[in-house]
Symmetry: C2
Subunit: 198 residues, 2 copies
């Protein structure tokens, strides 16, 4: 998605060969107009999947997920990283290790909000090792619902997550696909760039 | 706001005299169409304040804040509850005690995203004791920016937060104002209901 690639080129900061900081428009400050465009694009790509629910994970997945939900006219559920005292129902649970933050969080979703007949679109901000997306998919499958697609804002294609998810049979759509962060520069996968110049 | 009061009547669960659970549309599952309406209403109420930035706190403030930002055409910044490894700039910080969760979190915002000339609208999901809103206001003031208003989705008017914020001179606009949660029932402040029936 050219709009997103341009924004990454303009404002993202390469912190290391593995870490891209997009605090200017996604992970700390959020650009609502960009989010609106991302939501519209996810809705377009998954329009024919019969999506009934969007599942994401707090906190950075919420903005793009809610915009997608608005365009698809379906509710959004965000997995919580800690149990809260007001969330005491039966839970779907999994755990996510974040390599960036070097910590493992238990994540959970109330069984009430993902049910057997749901066709779920998973949305997240980043795809690196696939930990978060796999945890979300696992919870959806615990509910015997279907994972109908995985929508990612920024895929670090040089890490193993995207391939791992595709090998498991999931349809993954990433709006920006990064081939490399070497030498302090963002290089996008050529395919993405070419697709979007059509 | 009648739409919101109706939704609370339909789906909120009174857990105790102090705790209202709105996991069905705001705090766990999110209704994007309702969020869109809340955003539109906040934008309408604060239209003349010259807002340049919206500040909220993860996670449940994000959805209404981003929708408000979309209608006001301004960026949203969410305060983080823990420092992340990719957020190492100079920080505005404060702390928030949640009585519901019985825990105190340090919260922070990068100095980059709230600056001296900003007119800030603070948005949050709940107002009870005012802890979160006060922490956000404190960070905005640390940046020497102006708090131009505080927009709350659900105010528990029988707790002290709203009065505390008004006493400090802040303009507070709450879309639903709850007078009592006694006997397992939600009672709204009469003024709110009457205003909205006009």
């Amino acid at each position: 998605m050219k709009l997103l690639e341009d924004r990454i080129n303009l404002e993202a900061i390469v912190l290391s060969e593995n870490v891209l900081k997009v605090d200017a428009f996604l992970n700390h400050q959020i650009d609502p107009i960009l989010m609106d465009e991302l939501g519209k694009e996810f809705a377009r790509r998954f329009a024919n999947e019969g999506i009934t629910k969007i599942v994401t994970i707090e906190s950075s997945g919420i903005a793009p997920a809610v915009m997608t939900g608005l365009y698809m006219n379906v509710p959004v559920v965000f997995a919580r990283k800690r149990k809260s005292l007001t969330l005491v129902d039966d839970l779907l649970t999994s755990s996510v290790h974040s390599f960036t933050k070097n910590e493992t969080n238990e994540v959970s979703i109330s069984k009430k909000y993902v049910q057997e007949n749901d066709c779920v679109l998973i949305i997240d901000d980043f795809l690196a090792n696939g930990q978060a997306a796999l945890a979300l998919a696992e919870m959806v499958q615990q509910a015997k619902a279907e994972v109908s697609g995985i929508g990612i804002v920024i895929e670090k294609s040089f890490q193993e997550g995207a391939q791992k998810l595709k090998n498991l049979g999931f349809r993954v759509e990433s709006l920006a696909r990064i081939a490399s962060l070497s030498n302090g520069k963002v290089q996008f996968l050529k395919e993405t760039t070419e697709e979007l110049r059509k």
